[in-house]
Symmetry: C2
Subunit: 219 residues, 2 copies
């Protein structure tokens, strides 16, 4: 599958490299087509790796992943272009983190709205699926690195898009995947990052992922 | 220790019975001193079990547990009386669940405030500790029923109160306990119930509890 990634940071680069390894074509897109990080990444990866702009990633991808910082996300998807993303599956793994009051962060949107819904509103004809926002990128591409089988959660309005995303998550190694419902369930997924950050700070780990434990007898 | 419980529902009754079993004295308090559920519970439990009003529970308890429905919580703590709870440790295990739009529920307070903070403001001289709100009562009193060692999280402003609550959690069987910080961290804890409910609906379990998985090599 051809996958466009919006965002040239560690998440985009690491996830992009893994997707190449899985046999996908990947275009890493930045604000400008001459983004040096994206160019260096593509040169290093070789093969099916390409670099370009947000617009290029939107055109290239049959599926597009939004992997920007929360604060730059809406600008990025607007630049990528709603019309270029119409009918496409868009994975949103961003978090609306607000560091303006220091650590630990808060959210700049929440409770009655979410960044996932903002992206869906900015891309009305795309099929936005919120997922992967509750772990760091090393766990996104290797959930077994946690020492077990953590849960992954997703939310979105389009059943076909959620099926495609589920298959991609399975390729990445996720086995316990729960569909929470429509994109408004991003209001449930995004606050989880607040706990994730706090737990990481307290336990000095950034390799943690959530698992719900239960035994049939414990119901 | 003498423990007062505000709330005579399943959570108060089940948790109260477990605390009696652990050797504590327990007064189960309802809106009126002649609450039939509390009276029946105390008669059935015998020994150190008592029934009474919210006020009675506040006077009786060296530590007081708020185990009311979210919607009735502030009324209950106001009736219990801020002056009676001054200087005492108050465990808040409530959730501000809003079922007015059907299932799954939303929260009636969140993001920039929490029910935990509202209780602390209603009881300015008490030491409110938010915890246990992220599991059902069978897991509160038996975390190992999940088949593992789930995480429990707590938040509150007073270090001594958090230490007392930690010891009580340990008596209940909790081994992985994380102190998230001040009572404002209830904003992080309360939204977790939204995921907990949705996960339970999807997987047909109400015996689940969260664990963060990580291995030292997965950082």
């Amino acid at each position: 599958m051809k996958i466009g990634i919006l965002g040239t940071g560690t998440v985009g680069q690491t996830l992009g490299a893994k997707l190449l390894e899985l046999g996908h074509g990947v275009l890493l897109g930045g604000r400008s087509a001459t983004n040096e990080k994206a160019q260096a990444w593509a040169a290093q990866q070789g093969g099916l790796a390409r670099a370009g702009s947000f617009e290029d990633a939107a055109v290239f991808g049959e599926l597009v992943i939004v992997a920007t910082l929360g604060s730059g996300t809406i600008d990025a998807v607007q630049q990528a272009g709603p019309e270029r993303l119409a009918g496409k599956t868009v994975i949103d793994l961003t978090n609306p983190l607000d560091f303006s009051r220091g650590m630990p962060p808060t959210l700049f949107v929440g409770h009655t709205d979410s960044l996932g819904e903002q992206i869906q509103r900015a891309l009305p004809a795309a099929h936005v699926v919120k997922t992967l926002n509750i772990v760091s990128v090393n766990q996104m591409i290797n959930p077994a690195s946690t020492g077990g089988e953590p849960d992954m959660l997703l939310a979105g309005n389009d059943a076909g898009a959620k099926q495609r995303v589920t298959e991609l998550l399975q390729q990445l190694g996720w086995k316990r995947i729960t569909d929470l419902g429509g994109i408004e369930e991003a209001r449930v997924l995004e606050p989880l990052v607040l706990l994730w950050v706090r737990y990481g700070l307290k336990h000095n780990t950034w390799g943690h992922a959530l698992q719900y434990m239960y035994s049939p007898a414990g119901a």
